[in-house]
Symmetry: C2
Subunit: 415 residues, 2 copies
């Protein structure tokens, strides 16, 4: 596999003003094409650090991708440093100038300033890569078998340049090994229990195959990666090993694709042409937020009621006030009432209802912080479950959402 | 400022399956304490790369913070590599073992596996840092005046350890001057306009005072930091300068404390002993999630209706079906209907109603993606506003929530 380094340049990344989402996107795009990112380095907008990073990364990597520091303001120095580093001089690139002029006249519809013309200047020792989405051109340098490519840090400009120019160029330039991944998602089992369960399997994997554990939000993703010269052969080996892995963790597997729990639930609902409603007390709209973060969710999601107060439970969801008084809001009977209430009120096939105490306050000896009742079901059947969570408010909310969605998934599958 | 490097270890970061949010958080926390992150390096779970990174970063930085690779599974090798690097041998740490046992017995309430006991093993040449939120202990190494600290990659475990252990230790170790901060939050003005507005002020600041722009979710936080030997004197200087800054940005200032917009709204509601209800269509429960993420929100938040379908708008919120048909769901009249509906249904003092098209699908020539109508108000008065957003689904949802909450804040203040 061809080793790649990513250098991101910009003070805003170092002081934590901006979360670097570019690197993850670039790594995924490179991986799909058969390249392995071996190091990512973030540095500030200053010459010695940029030169040091270039010197360092070229030692190990064949390709060095650089983002950021290409804006028109004084703190953006990347291209001048690259020009000096590769021993060139700055010239105006005709194509880049055309692009800058076009963007200002036709797209931004703003007068072109002196400062913007500087964007068309590039070192004379580079190959220019067109930036369809912005004024800063990309620059490709080749020196002693090493390839250096500088791109803008603006995410959609970088993405356009990677897709149109950089990835196709690299694929052509190198004859590399192929790399394939398979990912599955488990729920309801901790990372260490999972590891014990598949310990023998993991030890028996050939050296060309690696297993990674990726825990998040109370679930664990398992990713199997195989590398090889022949695409068909590598894929076939991975398929066989992935099938074995799936069998080993079948009891906890949510999906054998690289997708979220909520998207698994979405597929199940869509396949049945069914609809979903939510009655959320303690999760306060978080499950609804997860569902509606997916484009197209209006096709199966009717909506929900965040019944934070008892009055809303009674008046909007018709929860029986005697049951509320007798058992308290955090109880199995109330979770059931919320479920049947929201199913009929929002005329939905399935629903999830959650009520609990997320903390830090609100707990009692009988019902400590972390006590949660979840109900999932349809007009035909209801399943309930009690959780005893022991984390902070945010994590309690996340875990309750995960359990609710996973219970619904199991409920739909069991029908 | 003391130079710091951050090394993040984990294949999942290199392959792009996980976006690194830890580094930005750490950089901000370090900055506040007077440390400057000069390089951030991400590498995979393998020994030569870890050792190379340690060798490299110690050249320039006084402090090297390491996250990740401390899980109990086979791909997690960080502590064994550190043990070899610093020439120690692995021993069981009594305190760490107590913590692991406590977490399994009292918190997770699950049987302790053989593999989990490995979590209590540490190199004998390190100082152990307690991890209150998980099983992997932190490790501090000191060698030739350089400090190396290894922490878990799980965000809340890392954050807890930074706050309780690492930052206080570093401040003490380097005999830092006293540092004081004042923070204010603005909304409704972009970073570059804000920078123009306070350009002269910023230039006139003494060298012991720094101004940081921290943009997030369509708002910009301004943080003023003063460093000095004498606490009272430094605080007094900062107070004077902060008062000037507040006057300059008064028209856009949401709060002069380091708090969120939703907590400002919460204070306003609490002070009036008023209650809030939400009618969310396009934000799908996100505003409700922001409100209920705050402990104690049940004191003023009655609840909300996520009226994703038109049927829910009509049947739960009594939105007039003729108005829905005539103007469409994304319209000012429907936002008003949703508002009055939720105010009366949930018997609340104030409400926010939002309806819009978040994308990527669902837009039309007349109502493109990003069209949003917001209504805020009470039984006495209603204010509405149209937004034309141009971002992706997630950012459109965040910005709509921000505008809704800010409109409510202004509405309450104007009453």
């Amino acid at each position: 596999m061809i080793p790649v380094s990513i250098i991101t340049i910009g003070d805003e990344l170092l002081i934590g003003q901006v979360v670097d989402t570019n690197s993850a996107w670039m790594a995924q795009a490179l991986n799909k094409a058969g390249f392995a990112v071996i190091r990512r380095v973030a540095i500030g907008d200053n010459k010695p650090d940029i030169i040091h990073a270039l010197d360092e990364e070229r030692k190990q990597s064949s390709v060095i991708l650089i983002t950021g520091g290409l804006g028109p303001t004084n703190d953006d120095i990347t291209k001048y440093v690259l020009c000096a580093y590769f021993g060139g001089k700055m010239i105006v690139d005709t194509e880049a100038l055309k692009n800058v002029t076009y963007l200002f006249e036709e797209v931004f519809k703003r007068p072109l300033q002196e400062i913007n013309l500087k964007q068309a200047e590039v070192p004379d020792c580079c190959t220019v890569l067109l930036n369809k989405r912005g004024t800063a051109p990309g620059m490709l340098f080749k020196q002693n078998e090493k390839i250096f490519i500088s791109m803008p840090g603006v995410p959609d400009e970088m993405m356009g340049m990677m897709e149109d120019g950089v990835i196709p160029y690299l694929i052509k330039e190198f004859g590399m090994e192929c790399i394939v991944h398979q990912t599955l998602l488990t729920a309801g089992i901790g990372e260490s229990f999972l590891a014990e369960m598949i310990n023998d399997y993991e030890k028996s994997l050939p050296s060309s195959v690696r297993l990674a554990y990726l825990p998040a939000h109370g679930m664990v993703r398992l990713r199997l990666t195989a590398t090889g010269k022949d695409k068909a052969q590598t894929s076939s080996l991975l398929d066989t090993l992935f099938r074995q892995l799936k069998q080993l963790v079948a009891a906890y597997m949510v999906t054998d694709k690289d997708e979220t729990l909520e998207s698994v639930v979405a597929h199940l609902l869509t396949r049945q042409n069914a609809s979903l409603a939510l009655a959320e007390s303690c999760t306060g709209g978080y499950i609804s937020h997860l569902i509606t973060s997916m484009p197209g969710s209006s096709a199966y999601y009717n909506g929900g009621v965040v019944c934070y107060s008892n009055a809303v439970k009674e008046e909007v969801l018709s929860v029986n006030s005697e049951i509320l008084q007798q058992y308290g809001a955090v109880s199995e009977p109330v979770a059931r009432e919320m479920l049947t209430g929201v199913l009929s009120k929002l005329k939905s096939t399935y629903a999830i209802a959650v009520t609990g105490i997320m903390g830090p306050g609100g707990g009692s000896a009988e019902k400590p912080v972390g006590t949660v009742w979840i109900a999932v079901g349809s007009a035909l059947d209801i399943q309930t479950k009690k959780l005893n969570l022991r984390f902070d408010r945010q994590k309690n909310i996340q875990l309750t959402a995960m359990h609710g969605l996973n219970m619904l998934r199991q409920f739909i599958l069991s029908q």
